[in-house]
């Protein structure tokens, strides 16, 4: 009985080993094919581009990476989303080619060698639950709501419902941009601090009286966006500069773009081409000229 078991065990192991060997062979063949393909297509660019950083830039980075790889099949773009500060840290440490940041770089980061390449502008929308009757806020209203001095919607002409302030966690690019633009850094009185845009949208949609901020491209039918000082949160208004809640999307490099590898230069050239701008627009962002 015992002998039989050992024999079975050994046979199983052999089968597994053969299987593994087979796999690695296939993988090796695939690599060969992948390496040969670009030469046949006569595209001279090969290799990879790595980027990491802001989770707010995930939609954009993925869309750009996909279309860029379709145009240059020899180049792989790997994008990770670790957060703005972590992304810049990585690019400064040399572990990635591009650090994505959804805020302007700090002087400290610039003096460490990071160069701020603004590739798009993101608008921050102020959202409430769909049943809220208030539809226009002034800057002072907004400050009052988020710092807690306005605690009931009836004070702004809405229904008699308490204000539930929803925000992002400390360190988030959206929160940083929002509080900085309103000059209420660390003065907000949050009832909820959530760690993703999706969670904020879900929380606002399901809570009567909730107010929060999200990237313009994350706005969907489940929440209602507010006009600020009479200006709707739209692409045109942000481009025109009349809507005051907007922030830059930065792809930071160490040294100027012209000092980067051919691949990275090609990516930046792609971003300012009409084709690249179209991709940026499709994810709800505003292109820079």
């Amino acid at each position: 009985m015992k002998k039989k078991k050992i024999v079975v065990l050994i046979i199983t192991m052999m089968v597994i080993l053969t299987g593994l060997a087979g796999c690695s062979q296939v993988a090796a063949e695939e690599e060969l094919v992948a390496a040969e393909e670009p030469q046949e297509e006569a595209t001279e660019l090969t290799g990879s581009i790595t980027m990491s950083g802001s989770t707010s830039m995930e939609n954009m980075a993925n869309a750009v990476a996909e279309t860029f790889m379709a145009k240059y099949p020899g180049v792989t773009v790997n994008a990770e989303f670790t957060g703005s500060s972590a992304g810049i840290e990585s690019v400064l440490a040399g572990s990635v080619d591009i650090g994505n940041s959804s805020r302007a770089l700090t002087d400290e980061e610039k003096s460490a060698g990071a160069v701020e390449n603004i590739v798009a502008i993101d608008g921050i929308a102020v959202a409430v639950d769909p049943a809220n009757a208030v539809s226009d806020l002034t800057k002072d209203d907004l400050i009052g709501l988020f710092t807690g001095s306005i605690s009931n919607w009836s004070e702004l002409g809405g229904a008699d419902a308490p204000v539930v302030v929803v925000g992002r966690e400390a360190g988030s690019g959206t929160r940083g941009a929002f509080e900085e633009l309103l000059e209420i850094e660390d003065a907000c009185n949050y009832a909820s601090e959530l760690d993703s845009t999706g969670a904020v949208v879900a929380r606002i949609a399901s809570t009567p009286g909730a107010i929060g901020y999200v990237s313009l491209d994350a706005v969907d039918d489940t929440i209602k966006t507010m006009a600020l000082e009479g200006v709707e949160a739209t692409v045109d208004n942000i481009k025109a500069g009349t809507y005051f809640l907007s922030r830059p999307f930065v792809m930071a490099t160490v040294g100027e773009v012209s000092e980067q590898s051919e691949n990275v230069q090609a990516l930046f050239a792609y971003l300012i081409s009409e084709e690249g701008k179209e991709v940026i627009r499709t994810v709800g962002l505003i292109t820079v000229d």
Binding site: A86, V166, D195, T207
Partner: protein, 309 residues
């Protein structure tokens, strides 16, 4: 009958024995290396900020403002939230779980067990983020109605929209159920049948037998279930990060609160410099907490049990 086998002679046999021993040792070593490296890593990364900010300021400070111009890293409320939230969840989850286990092992007819048991197992397999999403969509709005009714017209209360300590506690209580039920049930079923038979034959009722004989006999398995349940509750992050509100406040039932786990998870993505290091310190504190709770819980419960013998 003659059989052909690789164990045909003693030389082959001893080779197999030795190889097997080496494999076992290597496997055991992997676990130890993992535990040791995690411990060392946590200490290396967690201690610098602990002393840079100051132990008393971190442990007894009540203001968490990591990104302010003058950052403050007090996590007293966060620690208290973890302690209170977990205790309440265990206070609800363990009795319900244990009684469910008794029901499954002793009371329920076979046909019912065939329905309830897979349901409990399914509960264990649901990813924690799903608990969180259901919490946001269903539990929080319900909790908000309760909150609106209780604090109607209050000027000072900050309305949380239902994302508060109570919601987090309820979600945690449900999440530890499968762990407690499954382990308790197996240990109840493992109680030798003759104990039960002896008790019944002496005239004890079924319920008396369950509480006086079977549960005490299954004690060590139930303790394991409780310890694992506590571990799961204190270590859970994904679900409660969605339902607890995640603002640092004193842990009162209708306050938006932040747990040790969610404090790390929610800010790790964007934290830099000292803020990041402090998050590692929180990790170290959480690590120490789990160790202390597990060790002392096991000790206290085992000791209490021995006095009963």
């Amino acid at each position: 009958m003659e059989t052909i086998s690789i164990q045909g002679n003693s030389r082959n046999k001893s080779i197999i024995e030795k190889t097997a021993q080496v494999i076992f040792t290597v496997c055991a070593f992997i676990t130890i290396v993992a535990v040791a490296s995690i411990t060392i890593y946590m200490f290396i990364n967690g201690t610098p900020a602990f002393f840079e900010v100051g132990p008393s300021e971190i442990l007894f400070g009540t203001v968490w403002k990591p990104t302010a111009a003058e950052p403050q890293y007090g996590i007293l409320y966060v620690i208290l939230t973890s302690v209170i939230g977990t205790s309440l969840a265990v206070l609800i989850g363990v009795p319900v779980g244990l009684l469910t286990a008794v029901f499954l092992a002793e009371v329920a007819p076979q046909r019912l067990v065939a329905v309830v048991k897979p349901a409990v197992e399914l509960l264990a397999g649901i990813p924690s983020v799903i608990y969180g999403l259901l919490g946001i969509m269903i539990l929080n709005p319900l909790m908000y109605k309760v909150e609106l009714a209780i604090f109607k017209g209050s000027e000072t209360h900050q309305f949380t929209g239902g994302a508060n300590l109570l919601s987090a506690m309820l979600v945690l209580a449900v999440m530890i159920l499968p762990t407690v039920i499954n382990i308790s049930e197996s240990s109840l079923r493992a109680v030798p049948h003759h104990l039960k038979a002896a008790s019944l034959s002496l005239g004890a009722s079924h319920i008396q037998t369950i509480f006086k004989i079977i549960i005490p006999a299954a004690r060590s398995g139930i303790i394991t279930a409780i310890v694992l349940g506590v571990g799961r509750a204190i270590g859970e992050a994904m679900a409660i990060t969605l339902v607890s509100g995640s603002s640092v406040n004193m842990p009162l039932p209708f306050h938006s609160v932040r747990f040790l786990t969610t404090a790390i998870v929610s800010e790790m993505g964007y934290a830099s410099d000292l803020h990041r290091q402090v998050l590692f310190t929180i990790g170290l504190i959480l690590f120490a907490f789990i160790m202390i709770i597990n060790l002392s819980l096991t000790k206290i419960l085992k000791k209490g049990g021995k006095e009963n013998d």
